[in-house]
Symmetry: D2
């Protein structure tokens, strides 16, 4: 399904009934990435998937932009669906958008789950972003694949699922060989360049679960601890031996942590 | 409610409807310990609480016994309630009983969540058990309180919730001052003395979530890692800055991790 | 050798030549505990061992006191030996004394190494101290042994060195059966009750190495992190799978970390 | 100074007297990288620095080779210097060479210290190597800089020493802009492609200290744990909040851990 935001087509999907959950993609993902998760996420909830601008079947952008436009897309989608209050589950880039949406619209977020999140594009991440963009100057998709993908899965996952990674490598090298995709990825990467909400986390009011992975070689656990310390009443949980791409590396934990957080009543003891 | 097992009264409670969850107590707990959790656990599930033999309102035992009798109590309760397949959520001692029940009756356990579990009473834990039993020889409940309780909550929790701990101290010192209670606790402690299922974990067939706490000063994280490595298809998750008594220290994580694991469909990717 | 401090005999030993290192005992230790370490510590350094008041061959105290008297003993020993500037290596209780000495006499400490240290007797540790003192009311040394010793060695060490622990158990039960020893231990424990230098760490001027052990079930790693964060220019290093009694569990790391820190020139890069 | 190995010039430096220590470079390093460490490492030891083939002032290679030639260079240097038994301190690539030298010549290595080591080029590291080599196809040194350097320093270090990193960036971009350098780096990277000694670690006989860094985003701590578990009698120590380039991030720990391990007598307790 689609709707128009500022003259741009936005693609989304919705399925199931219940407390609504909006899954927010990582930078290289699209609604298609969630194929295996649809059944479990929509069993007791209304699941909403979304392609951000420059992702999947949503419109391409022309020049440079920052996260704020994607944050607006989220608001526009909720308006379009007439949803007052949403549960947000974000992955990496999607967590950044979730954090900013919750800061701007605290009353519209019921609960939030953040996987492999950062609250800022610090100097290291900024430099890594430059590597990603440099790699688009290489003639084929291989350079971009090798520059971006290896650190996104943990060493242990590479060892254990090498066959799957090699299948995926073929698909991704073809995907990254596409100029439209590469240009979109440059813009998506650039949109993160000046991101920093480290001083605004206190504005977040909803119960937030922050999920950290010990072997996240892109955004290490100290970044998620910083987020958890900044959001009053948030909880932090850690997946050991897991990398940045936790939804693929630990799909059952991704699902059960998300659904458990969204669907359980809060317990008060103190 | 109650039923009779081998001539002994067993106290239990049941509330709510849905996939049944049996919460298995830690050694010093009783059905009463779950007061704040009843609402959330019974919102979408049938929640069953149980006092093991020598706990709460169940019968006292006379002489020495081991875990096997408590494992039988679990089976008898399920028979009594005519439940073919159960979801087990265990806390410490309750996790030990859950592990043994799942080993003996793999087809009767649908899913399992283990908090602060060990698969054996190793030499260190055996020695700590002796300290606990030695402390019952002291005239008042104070000795038992100070010997058993301090390491069960994390240093951070003691710092943060000192008022609550001091209230609880009064209650517990009175409770531990009761001879019937002390004698029960000695028997419960002794029942763990020869526990060791470290070589039988492979028999467990159900999806199992193992929850570890970084600051568990009684059963450290390496023990839960051993369990997770022993059970095929189990998942391990870690709560940072949390101690042995995780259901009190992190009630929302205890609840959402348990309910998320029990109520979510498994995702298959590989 | 001995000298007299405020009318009390203080026992000490000194051996070797070079930069002087004073090893400060943990609460249940004495100069005798360092037998296996003398050769390596005195190979290139002047090693000084000391029994604190109420330890080993030093004098017994009569009533209650706090750490300050032990801190004075350290100063008096240095005066007696005519040592202007010392390197301090502390273990647990000894680290507390080292921290206080360095706060009071910043110019007299050249370098410092702290193992399994805490900068305060927080509410949890205070409660554990009560357990230790309660255990002295039991008739034999067994109760004190089981109450104090098990959590001081890691679970892994108990598993690996059970024979050694069982030999040690006999020795320690006999030792703790001695009324003079038990009374001394009560006073030493009480001397820590109101210890708290958490707000004074910034006064420490010397290069300090803080050594943390992941499986320290008495003083968990967060406490050493607090110390490292409080002392400008300190460095933190972690021994995995090691418990509170690190000098016994990892003697080669204890030795090489200490001697490396004391004997190496500082490197300046930034 | 220099000597000739198989017709190739090998550059080395030697300074100081005492137990000899050979510092083995990481892949992008040279003898010049150790400038700030010379004084402390040569104070009580004979320090030897070495440029591997394709590094610094040693000869360039023509075609493809593997680690074995660098291992031979180490042996040839020791022969040239008439050193029977050496202490090896390795950094990353240098640790790989150290491991292989110790496996082949167990009697020639007295002690070994390995920083940020891996015992194999696993599938993930192989893919990262491809990214590095792809980056040499970019016209300027920028691409190579951004692809290789950012993950080599921890996020925390980037935050704290951004000025220093920016100075270094200029130097390194110029350095990586040099075709000879880039070609050398491709060959050095390729030389690691088939490296795997994971099944031969048991052959190592010397006391080995394995140093792991929690925030090593290139070779995560699980790899060093594997090494420590494979070498009987090795010890593992962890530097928290430190990245792959630990000698720059924690120079005082690098120095004191190395010198402490090499210069301390082993303690025997069990």
């Amino acid at each position: 399904m689609e709707f128009v935001f500022n003259g741009k087509k936005i693609y989304y999907e919705t399925m199931g009934e219940g407390q609504p959950i909006l899954l927010l993609n990582g930078i290289m993902m699209s609604t298609g990435s969630w194929e295996n998760f649809k059944e479990s996420f929509s069993a007791n909830n209304r699941l909403i998937l979304l392609d951000f601008l420059d992702q999947g079947r949503s419109a391409r952008m022309a020049g440079r932009y920052d996260h704020s436009v994607q944050v607006e897309v989220v608001g526009a989608l909720l308006d379009h669906l007439n949803i007052k209050e949403i549960n947000l589950v974000g992955v990496s880039y999607g967590s950044s958008i979730a954090l900013q949406f919750a800061i701007l619209h605290p009353t519209r977020v019921r609960k939030m789950v953040l996987f492999n999140a950062t609250c800022r594009t610090g100097p290291q991440l900024k430099a890594i972003g430059k590597a990603w963009n440099e790699a688009t100057k290489l003639p084929t998709g291989e350079g971009y694949y090798y520059t971006t993908i290896p650190p996104i899965y943990s060493t242990a996952f590479w060892d254990k699922h090498l066959d799957w990674m090699q299948e995926r490598e073929k698909t991704l090298i073809a995907f990254f060989g596409n100029d439209v995709v590469r240009e979109s990825l440059v813009r998506l990467t650039d949109s993160s360049e000046n991101y920093d909400v480290s001083e605004q986390l206190w504005k977040i009011a909803c119960p937030t679960l922050v999920v950290s992975c010990t072997d996240d070689q892109l955004v290490p656990p100290a970044e998620q601890r910083r987020i958890a310390e900044g959001i009053a009443g948030s909880q932090l949980v850690v997946i050991p031996d897991c990398g940045h791409c936790s939804f693929f590396e630990a799909p059952d934990l991704f699902t059960s942590l998300s659904l458990g957080w969204v669907n359980s009543k809060t317990v008060k003891i103190f």
